[in-house]
Amino acid sequence: MAASPAATRIDISGLGLSYDGTALFDGFDLTVEPGELLCLLGPSGAGKSTLLRAVAGLARTERGGVRFDGGCGVALMTQDDALLPWAKAIDNVVLGARLRGDRPDVQRAAALLRAAGVDAAAGRPATLSGGMRKRVALARLLYEDRPVALLDEPFSALDAITRRSVQALTRRLLAGRTAMLVTHDPFEALAMADRIVVLAGSPVRIALDAAPPRSGALRDPADPALRPLYLAVLAALEDAA
């Protein structure tokens, strides 16, 4: 596997963005530190996904913008895993190379699939379980080898056990990259995040910005030490709704 790319700071400043005629973002600021895994929470429609899309360059911003310090380039993983239904796992992983007109590095793709716990010879998405599809999507995210990883509710459709193992895997494999992960599950944020941001609308503002104790591995979200933060997140979410 290639070494992790240089860590990048994401600097969102003065972001203005309308959705269906109403100002969703109006002078919104947020900085994501290099190598940080930031979990974005907020009620439905609070602009979490839109913010991610703005960082990915998929949403048209009206004012302000997103700056990357230390190398730009994002990789995106969505709730709908967006795998090509006609392509085998390995072909899904190297899709980015094909789309950029590069020669696919099948060796690296196979190594990433194995690291994600998938047989490198795995078939089409329809032949894989939901958890396995997430692992393939994760391998594709890593194959892109971008300094910034954006994940939009990547694990919301998984059962508790599978989710926990994919969360641990994601946390381990994303180490060194700057990542923004949208979730509606406070426990997911408590387990994975270096920093938790709760958004409230509208226009979008930051209702809570907190950091759980540093940890290299996945945290136990039921740890009593995390309970005050859990209550604070819950209160912020209730306020925001």
Binding site: R53, A56, G57, L58, V74, A75, L76, T78, Q79, D80, D81, A82, L84, P85, W86, L95, G96, R98, L99, R100, G101, R124, A126, E144
Partner: protein
């Protein structure tokens, strides 16, 4: 396999109904020949019918190929550039607003009594379902796939082409398959319309020729041959198009 068996059963029931009808009504053979009389008419001149069936089959195949290629190119052009879409959309609709029956004699005047006008008519008829279905498919890439591809591919004309090639077109293949199957289903109709407008060969010509001589049993024999030809052609295209999209799970 089960489909083939059930099709055979339906065919047998229809044949039985035809038999019963022709036997019970007691109509003369020049109004409604029995299946046996039709078979006898076929057996009397098998070479004549089969030679003409080969002509119709060739018209169908060539018309289908031309119509499919034209339809695919048209849909691709519409997907590639918005201005092209603006120009081609009305052309597409207009091509179907004109009744083919009315065009057929003009095509014969322009292109003669040979195969050319039949192929042109079949092309015109088959082009539309292929172009419309494929264009629809190209416009309806699942949004998550389209966005993921955009993020990975970056910007620029070359990137857009590669997204088209690796994501948009494969995602539209099931829709193209539907269009091709619809086109295959009407290929025989298109060929016969061409033959009726003026021809010296083909099953449509045989039917007119037999009709003019009150050889209704021969006409029926040509009709049944055409029926078999149309079904075989549709089945062939059905198998080929389904092989094109092996990832599509179909409910039995």
């Amino acid at each position: 396999m089960r489909l083939a068996l059930s099709a055979l059963a339906v065919f047998a029931v229809l044949l039985g109904a035809w038999w019963a009808l022709s036997a019970s009504l007691g109509l003369p053979a020049y109004i409604l020949p029995s299946p046996l009389q039709t078979a006898a008419a076929f057996a009397a001149r098998p070479a004549f019918i089969l030679e003409n069936a080969a002509v119709t089959a060739l018209e169908m195949a060539l018309g289908f190929a031309c119509g499919a290629i034209l339809g695919i190119l048209c849909a691709l052009a519409m997907a590639a550039a918005l201005p092209v879409r603006m120009v081609l959309r009305p052309v597409l609709v207009a091509s179907q607003a004109i009744p083919v029956f009315a065009l057929a004699p003009i095509f014969v005047v322009w292109m003669g009594y040979g195969m050319a006008p039949k192929i042109a008519i079949a092309t015109l008829v088959i082009f539309f379902p292929v172009a419309a279905a494929f264009a629809d498919g190209l416009r309806r890439t699942p949004p998550a796939l389209a966005e993921a591809a955009r993020v990975m591919a970056g910007t620029g004309l070359a990137a857009r082409w590669r997204v088209l090639r690796h994501v948009t077109v494969p995602a539209a293949l099931p829709a193209l398959g539907t269009g091709l199957r619809v086109g295959a289903g009407v290929a025989a109709i298109a060929a016969v319309i061409g033959e009726w407008a003026g021809s010296s060969a083909g099953l449509g010509y045989v039917m007119l020729w037999a009709n003019g001589r009150s050889q209704i049993a021969l006409m029926f024999a040509a009709l049944i041959t055409l029926f078999a030809l149309a079904i075989a052609f549709a089945a062939l295209i059905d198998v080929l198009t389904r092989r094109m999209t092996p990832w599509i799970a179909e409910t039995p």
